[in-house]
Subunit: 324 residues, 2 copies
Amino acid sequence: MTSIKDVARIAGVSVATVSRVLNDKGYVGQNTREKVEKAIKETSYKPNEVARSLFKKQSNTIGLIVPDIMNPFFTELARAVEDMATKLGYNVILCNSDGDKDKEQAYLDVLKQKYVNGIIVSSNTLTALQVEELNVPVVSIDREISKGLPTIVVENKKGAVMATRFLQNKGCRRIGHIRGSYGVANAEERYEGYKEVVSKEPWFRESFIVNGDFDMQFSIEATAELLSLHPEIDGIFAANDIMAIGAMKAAYRLGRKVPEELAVIGFDGIKLSEVMTPELTTIVQPIYQLGETSTTMLISLMEQQPIEQTYYTMAVELVERKST
Amino acid sequence: MTSIKDVARIAGVSVATVSRVLNDKGYVGQNTREKVEKAIKETSYKPNEVARSLFKKQSNTIGLIVPDIMNPFFTELARAVEDMATKLGYNVILCNSDGDKDKEQAYLDVLKQKYVNGIIVSSNTLTALQVEELNVPVVSIDREISKGLPTIVVENKKGAVMATRFLQNKGCRRIGHIRGSYGVANAEERYEGYKEVVSKEPWFRESFIVNGDFDMQFSIEATAELLSLHPEIDGIFAANDIMAIGAMKAAYRLGRKVPEELAVIGFDGIKLSEVMTPELTTIVQPIYQLGETSTTMLISLMEQQPIEQTYYTMAVELVERKST
DNA sequence: TTGAAAGCGATACCAG
DNA sequence: CTGGTATCGCTTTCAA
């Protein structure tokens, strides 16, 4: 690999000068500049990013920590983050934490040791302290770590209210809820939204709510249980699309027709929701945009650019399809 | 951030000594070692990976270049690669090439500049020359770049033969094929497998094959076209699951019942295939294992360990579900 | 068994 | 406008 020294020697100048033309910084005479550029071309020289990083204490890399890239929500998010990062000159290191506290901390440590410029993270367990100790810009996505930290979330409660009302307007008399994991902020918010709409209904009882743990398999079981306990249920709001799909599968197995006998609505708007038969009605989040926004925000933070806003609550939208 | 110098100063030794205990290399007296370890603990010192990388010309990072992480096949692959890489002490930089030659080359360049230890890539356009010029270990996955290069693929042709025969055994009299993109090796191989089984059939004509471009939307259209041209078709082999799902959707829209009137079989075994209703019969590839194997192989290559084999053809398996 | 010092490949300050 | 050089943080001879 040719280094800056080689280029300098070939061009007959000092490394300082080569560095100047490389970074287009400081004065360089017209024809020395040309000599250098010629030498660069000839050797097809590419600066060593690691050496640069060592000096700059930045590696033009950002870390992305998600629970599991296999979750379609995070897949799309990752794609958006990577697209935007590349566009702005950064690479992204992918980290799957499985929501595990220790793994998260381990990733945080090595990312820091690698001089990443910033980190995008989706975590329930991370504390504000942990993040501040890092001394690296962090933006939290999908889940808030602390009010003070840069965060991008969506209108979870509002979306849940929309979903539940929608079911009512469609004529559902008894609406059940498959909730997400306990302790996960967005699961709680969606739960609250549902509750707000139905809590004053005379029929309502806590047993209309079951935990699906944001997992399809769990949701199938939870739905089966829910439906056997309350056969009168004619509408289900699931806290995410995966669970909604699970609910539809359970209904299918029990011989309950969707949407004729049972309406199902989800939350997220993952691609999968359009692929199902029947296609899933859902509260769609602007997932790709979440990723883009978090990345541009992170990069502004990293580059110390003036920043308008560090807490975004993105709007959600109800998309009606065939399952309701 | 505390550096090796700080640790040395606190422990009252030289940086060389600290380095020795850090890497457990060379002689270190028992009690100096203890002093150093104490200092490390106290300061919770973590070596700077970038400085290390500069010296070693390796960054403990591997690059993963895939066309698009949103394709479920690559999502699962990425997860496997990241899992195994982490287990062995490496991070992974994620790159989405969209199958674009220039993007691929750009990623290759910056990965090299970042001193990645190795690269896993899935590409149709990359040439053996490009890879050799890199001077970085590369393993090609899902698609062969050249016979000489480390590669992991699956039994595409055999799988296609299995799928087509299976349809015949299920009683299908006219079998159509939704093929993958032209010029993509695995699409061609699957096409050949199909052809091998049906080419001597009296009814067979080239028009029983349409191009779905490995895309769901394309497949929907292609299937509709195929079915209107040859309404007698009672079985479809799609070159991947996404397209098989597209075919089922098209059938659904045309009012053709799957599997009663039309049997559909896919290829890949993505998670999605189990989620569909009806669940998709498919040729499953050991996707996760592909990722694991490619990673361990790459790392063996990187670490110059003796390596048994550099060209794997993994077995596929027919999993019968409800769509046939 | 330990330390001094020469890199690794770039950047940026300070002279000239 | 250009060059010399210290520096980033770590590893590895080479001597002592």
